[in-house]
């Protein structure tokens, strides 16, 4: 860093046109640098002071708004209470001839006031309850990232820390740092920008620049400030501590549109020397330029498209339109940006299981494009191509489901069309305030036989999206777009297809299904023998070029391939599911044998795929996924602290509840475990030995209060549930209602669990 400071004056030829005469650096370098450093320091302090004030202000307003919320809630509750009919407490109970007729007297020092006395009425005692740290309820595991920064130093009474001073040091050593430590030397982008801005005023004064520019710049700055937070992420060189994923795509190209006024070189030099870890002078300057870049009002990251329903929707490719949906959707949870799986596979590699695209041969109405000359040929030609690839096409679906016959819905469709036509045009009018057409330029290009049809960006995008799914079913596409009829769609398609060829994938040619049941048994057995309690996390495999062999991650981790894998359906490593007709609660069921829950998409006969609405499922091996837990109750334990109690009686081996919590890495578990051991209470539970641990400390469900016992009435079992390992708590024997639940925290001696501190020590010894 020292050399950069020294070398800073050298590249003074940087693109700094607005600074008219960059000072010769060699000329009194130390004095001016010192001077600048002093300024940097004072300015920095001032800015930080401002920041602190602002922050305090923010905290205050937040506090006030929270208070308001609470007050509203209280008022709501109060009004509810006032409506409640409550039996009043007969007062005579305490006012009787009981001994507690004590008087409470208030005496005044002044002679003018009389002493006041009133009978004391003691309130009845309320039994205390055990201590509980707050936690958030959860019914499904929740993956969190490692915390490399210690957010707070745990408080566990002064005695503990006095006794074990080394503990804290060790604890801090485990982390990369403690939150808030670096604040003294920390310089955020915002501060940096403001700092440069403030310092440039000095240089302006020195060099007698026009005041105007400063003000202009200030205006710009104000605009920029808004976007500063946005762009901050990538630019933070060393101290990126914040959210990992603020962006879908990390690649961000920033075009340096126009170099604006870049202040004096010396400023950067001074800053660089003050905050060496922020980078060299050059880097700082580049960064400042970046920050200065005028944020275009609707500038969006490259893969972000404007809202398709908004007024700025534009015509983009299919992949772009669907990019957000494709990338954020979790195929395993059916949710966008799910809580459990950090990596989502994109669908473009998924193969169609069933080729259900069929061509419409019947025109949808009198105005249908199919009646047009040449249309049929166009469609057929395209269809031929697609048919080639779809040898195993499914049967024709009943016509009623998709396209209505010629007699069916032409009126309705037309009505809808015209309706939308008018609304969209009126929308356009009100939007742009001028009668000009949205696409005047396209008119000549789109000039077709019938009439001029304007396609808005949204419609074009939508067409491309739908064309990728419906191919040449223009009637369907038109119906879905809503604002265009099939003839217009067809015409647009004709033009479009010349430009964009719709890539059609080759459908998989399915080989005959082999009987491989006996092999399955052998495989399960093998896995059981080999694994020796080694359970590895499952990741869907994705290796398109070769089948699942010894290099497949699923095979390597001794997991079966699941429906989420990208491999062939006929992959040898796939678990085929069971064909049980019973309850799947014996080892006769391959799923049960393999410690898996029945997969509702694989096991079609046992009932795991039926009765979604009722709790009565014939398959007893799908309780975790369905959340068929028992009603649990919380009360002070008969043993220690809180305990979990069951409301209704259960039979042996019945599922009671899933042990839910945060899914954390082993490293994180080690770090947290150290603190938990000190607290003498731990909710850590090893899920699969190399990868993840379930920690119910911060988030969990009521079963987390179940205590440990060497003679328990429950047992824990890690079950593979649709690709996720989950911990099920089952009844070890018949349990009566109201019984407290216990399970052996060391349910498998070797490895499975990190139990509470006391017991671990015993075990070690």
């Amino acid at each position: 860093m020292e050399e950069t400071a020294a070398a800073a004056p050298a590249p003074s030829t940087g693109v700094t046109p607005p600074t008219p005469r960059p000072q010769p650096a060699s000329f009194v370098p130390s004095r001016s640098l010192l001077e600048w450093r002093r300024r940097v320091k004072s300015e920095y302090m001032r800015l930080r002071q401002l920041k602190r004030l602002k922050k305090a202000e923010e905290v205050k307003t937040l506090f006030m708004s929270n208070r308001q919320k609470i007050e509203q809630q209280t008022n709501l509750l109060n009004s509810e209470w006032s409506k409640l009919r409550i039996q009043s407490i007969p007062l005579s109970t305490s006012g009787g001839a009981l001994a507690n007729k004590k008087m409470c007297t208030v005496e005044f020092g002044f002679p003018g006031f009389k002493a006041q006395a009133i009978a004391m009425r003691p309130l009845s005692t309320v039994a205390g309850i055990p201590f509980m740290y707050s936690w958030s309820p959860l019914q499904h595991n929740f993956m969190v990232e490692d915390e490399t920064f210690l957010h707070n130093i745990p408080y566990m009474g002064d005695e503990v820390l006095e006794q074990d001073e080394a503990f804290l040091e060790e604890l801090i050593d485990n982390y990369d740092g403690v939150h808030g430590d670096r604040e003294g030397g920390f310089i955020s982008d915002e501060i940096f920008k403001e700092l440069v801005e403030a310092l440039s005023q000095y240089s302006d004064h020195e060099e007698e620049e026009e005041e105007e520019e400063v003000t202009v710049k200030k205006d710009e700055e104000r605009v920029m400030r808004r976007s500063a937070a946005e762009g901050s992420e990538e630019n933070k060189a060393g101290a990126v501590t914040f959210i990992r994923r603020k962006r879908r795509s990390t690649a961000e190209v920033r075009d340096v549109s126009s170099s604006k006024k870049i202040p004096n070189e010396q400023i950067f030099t001074a800053i660089a020397s003050m905050f060496p870890y922020k980078g060299t002078t050059e880097e700082l300057k580049e960064k400042y330029k970046d920050l200065l870049e005028p944020p275009s009002p609707v500038k969006l990251p490259p893969l972000c498209t404007p809202n398709l329903d908004g007024p700025f929707a534009k015509s983009v490719q299919r992949e772009q339109s669907l990019h957000s949906f494709h990338t954020l959707f979790c195929r395993r949870c059916f949710k966008y940006d799910c809580f459990l799986h950090p990596f989502h596979a994109t669908p473009n590699v998924y193969k169609r299981k069933s080729k259900e695209i069929r061509m419409e041969t019947e025109p949808c109405g009198v105005d249908c494009f199919l009646l047009q000359k040449g249309a049929k040929e166009f469609v057929d030609q395209n269809m031929l191509r697609s048919q080639r690839s779809r040898r195993r096409r499914r049967q024709q679906r009943p016509t009623s489901s998709t396209c209505a016959g010629p007699s069916g819905s032409p009126e309705e469709g037309k009505e809808g069309d015209s309706d939308h036509e008018t609304t969209s045009s009126s929308e356009g009018n009100s939007r742009c305030q001028t009668p000009t057409k949205p696409h005047p330029g396209d008119e000549d290009g789109e000039q077709q036989a019938c009439c001029v049809v304007q396609w808005s960006g949204a419609e074009e995008s939508l067409f491309r999206v739908l064309h990728g799914t419906y191919f040449n079913n223009f009637c369907s596409i038109a119906r879905l777009i809503g604002t265009k009829n099939c003839k217009e769609v067809y015409e647009f398609a004709v033009k479009e297809v010349l430009i964009h060829r719709v890539p059609l994938e080759d459908g998989g040619i399915s080989p005959q299904k082999k009987k491989r049941k006996h092999r399955l048994w052998a495989k399960i057995q093998l896995k059981k023998d080999n694994s020796s309690n080694q359970v590895y996390n499952y990741q869907p495999c994705d290796h398109p070029d070769h089948p699942c062999d010894s290099s497949c991650p699923c095979v390597m981790t001794q997991n079966f391939c699941e429906k989420f894998c990208q491999c062939e359906h006929e992959c040898q490593n796939r678990f085929p599911g069971c064909r049980c007709k019973t309850q799947c609660n014996t080892k006769q069921c391959p799923c049960y044998l393999a410690v898996r829950e029945c997969d509702p998409d694989l096991c079609m006969t046992c009932g795991a795929a039926d009765h979604w609405d009722s709790k009565a499922v014939s398959c007893k091996n799908c309780s975790i996924q369905r959340g068929l837990k028992k009603h649990l109750l919380l009360a002070p334990s008969d043993v220690a602290g809180w305990g979990t109690f069951i409301k209704e009686p259960v039979q042996k081996n019945e599922f009671i509840s899933e042990y839910c919590g945060e899914l954390i890495s082993q490293d994180e578990a080690d770090r947290r475990g150290r603190i938990y051991d000190k607290y003498m209470s731990s909710f850590l539970f090893n899920l699969n030995n190399v990868d993840f641990v379930v920690d119910a400390t911060r988030k969990g469900n009521k079963i987390r209060f179940a205590n440990h016992s060497v003679n328990p009435n429950c047992y824990a079992k890690v079950v593979m549930v649709n690709g996720d390992h989950r911990i099920g708590i089952f009844a070890k024997r018949a349990i009566l209602q109201g019984e407290e639940l216990f399970f052996d925290y060391r349910y498998s001696q070797a490895d499975a669990l990190k139990y509470v501190g006391i017991e671990r020590e015993v075990d070690m010894a």
């Binding site: 039996q87 109970t93 305490s94 309320v126 309850i129 309820p137 959860l138 959210i243 994923r245 962006r247 879908r248 009002p297 609707v298 969006l300 990251p301 972000c304 404007p306 809202n307 398709l308 329903d309 908004g310 007024p311 700025f312 534009k314 015509s315 669907l322 957000s324 494709h326 954020l328 195929r331 949870c333 059916f334 949710k335 966008y336 940006d337 809580f339 998924y350 299981k353 695209i357 489901s401 396209c403 609304t423 929308e427 939007r431 742009c432 990728g468 799914t469 369907s476 119906r479 879905l480 809503g482 429906k563 509702p600 837990k629 009603h631 109750l633 919380l634 009360a635 002070p636 109690f645």
Partner: protein, 692 residues
């Protein structure tokens, strides 16, 4: 009388208990023990007290409390069912409407006997069966003279020593002696009218109660055989009101040649409740010669042998006075008041049953068709049942089981709470269940039973009832102000468990696990539960629903929204649809691919209107296509979902036309910062710029 005897039983039981438990030295078995040295006895006694005094005191206190404010009734317990005098025979014919009728009837009765009506008495005759009518029928008068006095007992004033009593003569009549009811015409009976204004409050004294005093005097014959001695004695025992004394004294003098019989009936009791309703009455009279037993010598005693005359003998032999009582609106009119309904009387009296009873005694009055006598006779029979010579020896074990003392008893009252259990089984069961501070073991004994009593060391005072009873209204469960609603829920328990036949063998000392057995172990929800989120006690009405088992707790819903909002390169429309969808999935917990078609349709149903209002249709379509790309839904579902959406859209016409601007605004809002920063007019430019 019978009831008095009953209470006498209880009293004697109580005293016995005190003797037996606390001072066992006086017990029968002790006599057999050779008299040890004085200090040894004392030390032993000390030890005994140490062991048994505290629990006994506690149970004595509980007994008293339970008498004052019963928490439950013993007769409702299965093993005490014989204490329940009521049969369920009427239940079969019971209708809910009957309750209303009963109440209405009762109301009507209570209202009607107003003070404006006169009391009309029609005397049928005076019956005295010990006459020998054949012998001296000719010189006998066939009528007696009857004097009716209205006795007003007034409120005591400060200067008065006793309550002032005023006697107002209402008339004298000749009443036929031993008339034959078949011969005499009903109209010819002498009758008497007590004016209504007699019952009006007089000026000088506030009248507490009114009663009728009948005085029958027969002249010309003197009979000192004192046949009615027994009754008189007993009755006077109970009645020690000053008025009575005064009266008897005053009549002692005149009784030389005339025999005088008296009887008194309360018309209004001191709470001004009417005691005499319309009906036929037969009053047993008492001779005046008998010397009343003084108050000092009066004792409670149980009549065990049937030597004394039962009360109803009086009515077969006399002397009795029969009359018909009627409340009439005017002097000659018909009765306005309803006929006497003993049930009604009893009900209205229920708050002070003791008082009614005493008043009954005083007059030795029996109504002819009285049901109350029925009840009384039944009560009489209860203590008679276990009249075998059963002896129960309580053997108290203390001081390391080495020392023991026993006490013999021959009734089945609980020594601690004096409850008459009537049966040995019930007694043992009661002891076990109600006095768990002790351990009771039953040992068969040739003369009856031996019960070993020792201290239950395992007793920890834990409450085994429903903890909500205690918690929901602290300090209320045992309110003295009568019944209190304790819980907000009512449990209807319909349970007919298979009960094992009661057998004494269950009380025999078991060989193993004695301590285990004594632990108060009750399965079920015998504790107070708490909400896991707030640590607030779970109220009984919240028991059934698991309020903390949501698949989508609020924080998680918020979390998914904020997490999506963090994306900078996902546009607002996409975010909105994604959030809606996530909430939908979280709410319904979809787990299978094959649920997706259904899930989409449900989504449209639930959220369709919202999607349209927020102008998100195209984004929703994108979502559908994306789902299709993931091979989760079929194109048929896309078609159907969109068709349904259109349909919903058409069902919301006002959104379509009237709120055009609204949609635009919301659309703009959807587009988020892009619009807000552009400021409208720049929109076009940037769009074209971005098209490039």
């Amino acid at each position: 009388m019978p009831s008095a005897r009953n209470s006498g039983h209880i009293m004697s039981g109580a005293s016995c208990k005190a003797n037996g438990a606390v001072y066992p030295a006086s017990s029968a078995m002790m006599n057999s023990v050779k008299k040890p040295k004085m200090e040894q006895i004392q030390a032993d006694h000390e030890l005994f007290l140490q062991a048994f005094e505290k629990p006994t005191q506690i149970y004595r206190f509980l007994r008293t409390r339970n008498l004052i404010a019963p928490i439950f009734l013993h007769r409702t317990l299965t093993f005490m069912s014989h204490r329940n005098g009521r049969s369920n025979a009427k239940r079969k014919a019971f209708k809910v409407d009957d309750m209303l009728q009963t109440v209405e009837k009762m109301k009507g009765e209570q209202d009607s006997p107003s003070l404006s009506s006169h009391l009309q008495l029609t005397f049928t005759g005076f019956f005295h069966k010990d006459e020998k009518p054949s012998q001296n029928s000719e010189n006998e008068q066939n009528s007696v003279s009857l004097e009716v006095l209205l006795v007003k007992v007034c409120h005591k004033k400060r200067k008065d020593v006793s309550c002032p009593v005023k006697q107002v003569p209402t008339g004298k009549k000749q009443v036929p002696l031993n008339p034959d009811s078949n011969q005499t015409k009903p109209g010819s009976y002498p009758s008497l009218l007590v004016s209504s204004n007699e019952f009006e409050p007089s000026n000088s004294h506030m009248v507490k109660s009114y009663s009728l005093l009948f005085r029958v005097s027969r002249t010309g014959r003197r009979d000192t055989n004192g046949l009615v001695n027994g009754e008189a004695n007993e009755n006077i025992d109970v009645t020690d009101t000053p008025s009575r004394k005064k009266r008897s004294l005053s009549h002692r003098e005149e009784g030389e040649t005339t025999e005088t019989y008296v009887a008194q009936m309360t018309v209004f009791d001191k709470n001004r409740r009417l005691q005499l309703l319309d009906g036929e009455y037969e009053v047993s009279m008492q001779g005046m010669e008998d010397s009343p037993v003084s108050k000092k010598r009066a004792t409670w005693e149980t009549i065990l042998d049937g030597k004394r005359l039962p009360p109803f003998e009086t009515f077969s032999q006399g002397p009795t006075l029969q009359f018909t009582l009627r409340w009439t609106g005017d002097a000659s009119g018909k009765s306005t008041a309803p006929v006497a309904k003993p049930l009604a009387t009893r009900n209205s009296d229920s708050s002070s049953p003791m008082e009614t009873r005493t008043s009954n005694h005083r007059t030795a009055l029996m109504m002819k068709e009285s049901v109350s006598t029925d009840i009384q006779t039944r009560k009489e029979q209860v203590p008679c049942e276990p009249r075998q010579k059963l002896r129960i020896f309580y053997q108290f074990l203390y001081n390391n089981n080495t020392r023991q003392q026993t006490e013999a008893r021959d009734d089945l009252h609980c020594p601690w709470c004096t409850l008459n259990c009537s049966k040995l089984y019930s007694l043992l069961k009661h002891l076990k269940l109600s006095h768990s501070r002790f351990i009771f073991n039953y040992v068969p004994h040739p003369k009856g039973a031996r019960i070993d009593v020792s201290i239950n060391e395992c007793y920890d005072g834990s409450y085994v009832g429903n903890p909500q009873d205690i918690h929901s209204q602290p300090g209320f469960a045992f309110s003295r102000n009568g019944p209190v609603k304790r819980t907000a829920v009512t449990h209807i328990l319909v349970c007919r468990p298979k009960r094992t036949k009661p057998s004494l063998s269950e009380f025999l000392e078991s060989d193993d696990g004695e301590l285990e057995q004594q632990r108060t172990y009750v399965s079920g929800h015998n504790r107070l539960y708490f909400h896991s989120d707030s640590c607030m006690p779970l109220r009984p009405q919240e028991m059934e629903v698991d309020s903390e088992d949501e698949r989508d707790p609020e924080w998680l819903r918020e979390k998914t929204a904020t997490q999506l909002d963090e994306f900078t390169d996902v546009n607002e429309g996409e975010k909105e649809v994604m959030k809606l969808w996530n909430l939908h999935v979280m709410k319904h917990g979809f787990i299978a691919d094959n649920q997706m078609n259904q899930a989409i349709m449900l989504f449209v149903e639930n959220r369709g209107a919202h999607i349209i209002r927020r102008n998100l249709c195209r984004n929703f379509l994108l979502h559908l296509v994306s789902m299709h790309d993931f091979n989760l839904v079929s194109t048929a579902t896309i078609d159907r979902a969109m068709a349904r959406l259109r349909q919903i859209q058409e069902e919301l016409p006002d959104i379509e036309e009237d709120q055009q601007d609204q949609t635009l605004v919301s659309a703009a809002a959807c587009n988020g910062n892009a619009v807000t920063s552009s400021g409208g007019k720049q929109g076009k430019r940037t769009k074209s710029a971005l098209t490039d």
